[in-house]
Structure formats: C-alpha cells, structure tokens
Amino acid sequence: MTNKSIRTWTSSTAKNLAISVHSFKGGTGKTNLSANAALALAKRGWNVALFDFDFRAPSLNALFQRDGIKYWINDWLAGKCELNELLIDLSAEFQTKGQFQVGFTNPSSRAINDMVQHSMDEEWQARVLQLVLDGKELLFERHHVNFQIFDTSPGFAMSSINAILAADELILVIKMDQLDIVGTQHLIQGVYNQVLGRKPELIINKVPCSMLQTQEDYTKLQADIGKKLGINVIAVIPCFCEVMENMGQSLFLEKNPAHQFSQSIDQLASHFESVN
C-alpha cells in the first residue's frame, strides 16, 4: 500500500434538492403548493421535475389538464418505460427559464386499484424504492435537474414513505384543524422522528384570514404551532377565496403572479433555494 496525498474532490456547485411534500390528512393543499412552487423555481431558471406520488388520488393530471399522456409513473414503476420517457416538458407552455418537467400518475380507477394492490407487496415496494433512489440520482447527475418535488399521498402510504426516504428536504403541510394538528403530531413522532430519524419542516396552509389580522398574528401562530409540533414552520399561508375560486383548474401563480398567495409561493421557492 502506498500513502498518497488525498485528492480533494470538489462537489459540483449545481443545486440538487429532492423535496417530499406530505401531510397527515388530505385536503391540506399539497398538490397546489407543490405545483406552484415547482413552477416558481422553474421560472427562476432552475431545472425542475415534479412528480405525482399520490397513487391513491392522483391529481396533477387534472391540475395541468393534460390529454394523450403516453407514459405514466405507473408505467415506469412497472418497468414499461424509462424515467425520462414519462416526464413531460412544459417549459415552453409556461415560458419558464429553466426546464419544467412533470411526471403524471394514471388517475383511472383501474390504475389506482392496481397501485393499492401493489402497496402491500414487499418485493414491489423494494423495487419501487430502488427505482426512486436510482431515478433521483439519474435526474440530478445525467439530466441536470436541480429540484425534484414529490407530491405524495397523505398519511402512512408506502408510496409516500418511498418519496420521503429519497428526499433531502421533507415538507409537511397542515391546515388549521385540531384533528390535523394532532394527527400530524403522531406522524412526526411515529414516522419522522422514531422511524426515519429526520425532522420535517412545516407549512401551515389555508389559515382563516380572521386568525391573521396583523403581522404579529403570523409570528405567534408560527411560534405556537412550531413549538407544539417541535419543528420549524417555514410558511404560514392564509386561506384565499381567489385560490378556492380557481378550483384547481390551473396553476394559480401563472395567472396571478402579484397575488399574496403567489408571493407566499415565491418565498417558499426562496426557502428551497437556500437549503443546503
């Protein structure tokens, strides 16, 4: 053996961050936040890949109103296509500076049923986890993707755990509902802390405007919920009628860039940019 001076390998300066967006309950606004944050990052010039990992209730397809999709995430997991074949490039449509690619999950009842059946198959789950981990590396290293965002199923779904295991930044979304807060507490303690040994960050979404009259209300809510759940709250987003009226028919940020919700999304994008 020869002792040689250790060569210092400089890490690539490129930003690489995989983000899982998860919640205890459904209806917290995960999909809306994930899709809009992905768009905000792509508009800033980052290459972004957004994945619909909610196999029980896939909804990105409806949000982006896509027809004629050749390959779904379901096909990739079943070995019928490569990862780059299922990603649809929407950069031109949304006029983003960076690449904006989306992977959709098949929303048909048959496809959902298939995924539910697979969810208890350990061999299938092992293969999916390996695919997700390999896919993450592939997109970062070969396809120069900077951000991968996984919009997951609520609760303890295996597909969500796979995305969480692959993610570098874990985001939990709650709304101001006592059931959701208590459930999220169990989710953090039971899964994130004890099992995964990792701390998520929190977004409090759809907060009634009556609770957020002043800046102090924001700060107090952020501190109170953060203390109660023992995690860092990165955003408090009010419930906006305009977002509700959009009815998930389009990306809100695209049509309303000056709206307060879009500004919250922009701050979220800045937060993701700052994560090491």
């Binding site: 053996m1 020869t2 002792n3 040689k4 001076s5 250790i6 060569r7 210092t8 390998w9 890490s11 690539s12 490129a14 690489n16 350990e122 061999e123 789950q125 092992a126 293969r127 999916v128 986890l129 390996q130 981990l133 590396e137 970062f140 290293e141 070969r142 295996m158 755990i161 796979n162 295991l165 899964v191 004890q194 099992v195 995964l196 040994g197």
Partner: protein, 155 residues
C-alpha cells in the same frame, strides 16, 4: 485504462472483465476513495451470471492500478430473504436505518465502504450488516478477508 467519468457523488470506472469477456462499468462513491486512509483502495464488484467478483485497486485519482478476478463465489443467504423496502425500513430497529439507506444507495458494499457513507466505525457497520444479513435483508459473499454485502435480487 479508460478515464473515469465523474458526477456529483460518484465516479464511474470502466474496466475489462476477463470472465465476462467485455468492458464493465463500475460506479464507485467518491467518498469511498477520497476518504480512504491509504491507497490503492480495493473495491470488490460482484456482477455477472454466474456471479463473480472483480477486485479493483483504485488510486487517489480514481485510476485503476490493477484488478483481480475471483471466478467462483458462493453467495451466503438466509432460507428466507426479504428485499429492502420502505416496509422493512419502518420495522427494523432505528440504529440500522442509516446502514440500510447506505446499502440501498450502493447496492453492494463492504462494512468499510458503508462506514465511509454513514460516518460510523467499520466495526459498528460490520455488526449492523451482519445483523441485517441474519434477518434476511442482505446476502453476502466472502472476498479475501472481508464480506461483501448486497441486496437480495440486486444482481
């Protein structure tokens, strides 16, 4: 020898395997070489059908300084094996989780290689990998004086 191809975390080496009678690609995590205490680093690569091991001796510039072929390997496995999945990660004791995640990343590795990823000692990783092998989550082969572990079904 072909020049290594570098990405953020890995360096992909290409070398000729006399058993396969073709060039093979061997990805190696940068940290395994860059944080080695001495060089060359020996890196065992289990591959092919029937499985065989090519040991690569890699210097600090990721250049292959020599290879050694072990054509007959005997894979040790439990009667019942379970592939590493999210379900397994949810039920194994917390102390094994980083080891399991490192194994998922590398697919095949020695305790020394896993230790460089997790930051724990080689002895600790050796115990954890041995325990996970006995639980049926990993298979292993003996290479020279160490065990090379791999995920069931990953070959």
């Amino acid at each position: 020898m072909a020049k290594p191809v570098e990405t953020k975390d890995t360096v992909t080496l290409r070398t000729f395997c006399h058993s396969c009678n073709k060039d093979i690609i061997v990805p190696i995590q940068k940290v395994i070489v860059s944080e080695a205490e001495s060089y060359p680093v020996s890196h065992a690569h289990l591959h092919g059908h029937p499985p065989h091991v090519l040991i690569l001796y890699v210097d600090s510039d990721f250049l292959i300084r020599g290879t050694e072929l072990s054509e007959t390997v005997s894979i040790e496995r439990q009667r019942k094996t379970t592939p590493l999945s999210a379900m397994v990660l949810l039920r194994v004791p917390p102390r094994y989780k980083r080891t399991a995640m490192a194994m998922l990343k590398l697919r095949q590795a020695s305790a020394e290689e896993i230790a460089r990823i997790t930051g724990k000692s080689k002895n600790v990783e050796s115990q954890y990998l041995g325990a996970m092998f006995r639980m049926g989550y990993l298979e292993r082969i003996r290479v020279q004086n160490f065990y090379q572990y791999h995920i069931p079904g990953s070959l």
